[in-house]
């Protein structure tokens, strides 16, 4: 993160339509993510959150619409420009996607070793540090098949932050974690944002964690196949005009916006 690169961690999405063949997953999505936001993508299971994430990181081409980073269009960028964008992303996949033939430390050290001026010794040290951040010190030399599901999640997060990315994308980081680990994870995300100035985009179902750390969100409505609302989750919970949004943020218990106060 040197000063020569313009800040690009402001993300804006316009008129985005996502489909698989003739199946439209979501249409007309539009939202902005400011620098240093912790942005939550929420919605029912199967509504297209992971798909939206894959669009944002360029793994899938949008059917319509545009995605811009720091004012530059990502969707219209050439292959090499895209690689430059992607170099500043850190991604954790829903299933972990750890490289199964490498140890946890190697999983994290591999991208670091590619950097100029970093010895493989130092890359390993950094990997140990990242694993310690997610509470996995002692498991550096385990293979992904030898650790638990929640530990795989955390190792995936450690790998996502390997290169101190400007934008961190997390697909359900909290799923499968116990309350303490999940609280530590919230703390970690806040710390990363504060110390590295990273923007965090995460898919999550954990309402507690959404209200605790997210300051912005988009709700994908599976019924209308478009976004229900975007904005601060606490505000949406109490004041959104969209019934589905309030229902979701209140765990299905809500009347109308006026009698909702906590």
């Amino acid at each position: 993160m040197t000063d020569t690169l313009q800040p690009m961690n402001k993300i804006s999405v316009h008129g985005l339509t996502m489909n698989f063949g003739s199946f439209v997953v979501m249409k007309d999505l539009g939202f902005d993510i400011a620098e240093k936001d912790i942005f939550a993508i929420v919605g029912e299971s199967g509504c297209g959150k992971s798909t939206l994430l894959r669009h944002l990181i360029g793994l899938i081409e949008p059917a319509k619409g545009s995605i811009c980073y720091g004012g530059e269009s990502f969707t219209a960028a050439t292959e090499s420009e895209r690689m430059r964008f992607m170099g500043r992303f850190g991604v954790m996949y829903q299933s972990g996607a750890l490289w199964s033939s490498m140890t946890l430390a190697e999983n994290i050290a591999m991208p670091i070793e590619e950097m100029a001026g970093i010895t493989s010794r130092e890359a390993l040290d950094l990997a140990y540090y990242k694993l310690a951040l997610v509470g996995l010190s002692g498991f550096e030399n385990h293979y992904p098949s030898q650790i638990s599901g929640g530990m795989k999640k955390r190792a995936g997060i450690a790998r996502a932050i390997a290169l101190d990315p400007e934008i961190i994308f997390l697909d359900e980081p909290g799923a499968g974690l116990d309350p303490l680990s999940s609280q530590r994870l919230d703390e970690l995300i806040l710390k990363l944002r504060d110390t590295l100035g990273s923007t965090v985009v995460m898919v999550t179902h954990e309402l507690a964690s959404i209200f605790a750390i997210a300051n912005n969100s988009v709700f994908l409505d599976v019924h209308t196949r478009t976004q229900g609302a975007t904005g601060n989750p606490v505000w949406l919970r109490d004041h959104s005009e969209n019934e589905n949004v309030r229902l979701f943020y209140n765990r299905g218990k809500t009347g109308n916006p006026s009698d909702q106060h906590d």
Binding site: M1, T2, W99, S100, S101, I112, M115, A116, G117, I118, T119, E122, D125, L126, Y128, Y129, K130, A132, L133, G135, L136, S137, G138, F139, E140, N141, H142, Y143, P144, S145, I161, L163, D164, R184, E187, L188, K191, D194, T195, L196
Partner: protein, 383 residues
């Protein structure tokens, strides 16, 4: 401090900001760690001075630090992990945000008990391990064959459960879809046999016997062996990769918890499919191989009609059926080798690749060994 010296210090700092520096000053537990420079991933190698293994500073001087990212806490962590017991390990004196990151990393204690011990063993022990692993492998092979036989038993008593649609897909994949490649290879083999045979036999004016040579070699050996080798590479490897990745994704465990017997469900249809398909493919391969030979013989002046008559006198139904009988055993061998490597594969993606490789090596070796055994047996029995 004099204004001038301050200026000089500033400009020196300016110069030093290019690369990350860690300077340890003092001695023993009284060291001071001076951190300076750009501590970012892109800013070159770290210059460390005065560090002795196991050191941890009493004080930090951090005003020379420019930007920093994880590289700085990463470096501090590596020193912290290496520090000797008599250092307190205090973090005071670090800037707040850096200290908080360090505290977060140190919050969950090291799971030392989880760390892996790397075993150092002598050459003799390594040889012993190797031998036992060979022994274990042979035992597990016998077990696997036993399980397969039991599973076949359950099938014939109508107790085995597997999906008929799976079975049809496997039949399709290992039978019909292999037709083109089997045809290509055996046609060429038939031609090669005829070329070589004709070149030699014509010297003696015995060119017509090329039909005997091509016919007997094809139906007894080449047809079935070539088909088996093609299927080892095509079907055996695909079985191993398929079952191996199922194993890696815990899909086999999922079958088991639903009460499906993994053997009946996965291995049985594959073994049955190959036992059914191998003889059919062998008959097909024999036919195509002989056609290839016939074509070459024709160019050498032996008409197909002549070739055919000679062929019929050379091949007895008995020698024809020998090849077909062998094919049943070869089919079972390929299926068992592939399924076994897959079911026993490790859980990583490279382990799945190795399973596929091993299945091909094992089944080709087994086919050649079995074929020699058959050759000896048939010679002894004089058929």
């Amino acid at each position: 401090m004099e204004p001038e010296t301050l200026l000089i210090r500033l400009s020196m700092n300016e110069h030093a900001t290019k690369f990350p520096r860690a300077t340890w000053q003092g001695a023993g537990t009284e060291k001071t760690l001076r951190l300076a420079g750009e501590w970012t991933l892109g800013s070159g190698e770290i210059k460390v001075e005065g560090y002795d293994d196991g050191d941890w500073p009493k004080r930090f001087v951090t005003d020379g630090i420019g930007h920093f990212d994880s590289r700085l806490p990463g470096y501090l962590m590596s020193c912290f992990r290496a520090k000797k017991k008599h250092h307190e390990g205090s973090l005071s004196g670090l800037p707040n945000n850096l200290r908080e990151l360090m505290e977060l990393a140190l919050k969950v204690p090291d799971h030392h008990e989880a760390e892996k011990q790397t075993e150092h063993s002598g050459r003799l022990a390594a040889l012993g391990t190797k031998m036992t692993s060979v022994w274990i492998a042979s035992v597990s092979l016998v077990e696997f064959i036993g399980e397969t036989v039991l599973s076949l038993g359950r099938f014939f008593t109508g107790k085995a459960r597997f999906r008929k649609s799976d079975f049809r897909t496997i039949l399709q994949e290992c039978g019909a879809e292999a037709l083109p490649i089997v045809a290509l290879i055996t046609f060429l083999i038939g031609m090669i046999l005829a070329f070589v045979g004709n070149a030699q036999l014509a010297n003696f004016g015995a060119g017509i016997y090329v039909a005997d040579l091509v016919g007997i070699a094809t139906v007894r050996e080449m047809g079935v062996v070539m088909t088996a080798i093609i299927l080892s590479g095509r079907t055996g490897a695909s079985f191993a990769a398929h079952l191996g990745s199922m194993n890696a994704n815990e899909e086999i465990d999922a079958l088991r918890t639903f009460g499906f017997h993994p053997f009946d469900f996965l291995v049985l249809p594959r073994v049955l499919a190959l036992i059914l398909m191998m003889p059919l493919l062998t008959v097909y391969a024999n036919t195509i191989g002989i056609l290839g030979g016939m074509l070459v013989a024709w160019t050498a002046g032996i008409t197909p009609a002549l070739f055919w008559t000679e062929l019929l006198s050379a091949i007895s139904p008995q020698s024809y059926s020998l090849g077909v009988i062998k094919s049943v055993f070869f089919g079972a061998t390929i299926a068992i080798a592939g399924c076994m490597q897959g079911m026993r594969s490790g859980k990583s993606s490279s382990a799945v690749g190795q399973a596929a490789t091993r299945s091909v090596v094992v089944s080709i070796t087994a086919i050649v060994v079995l074929d020699s055994a058959f050759a000896i047996l048939f010679t002894l029995l004089d058929i």
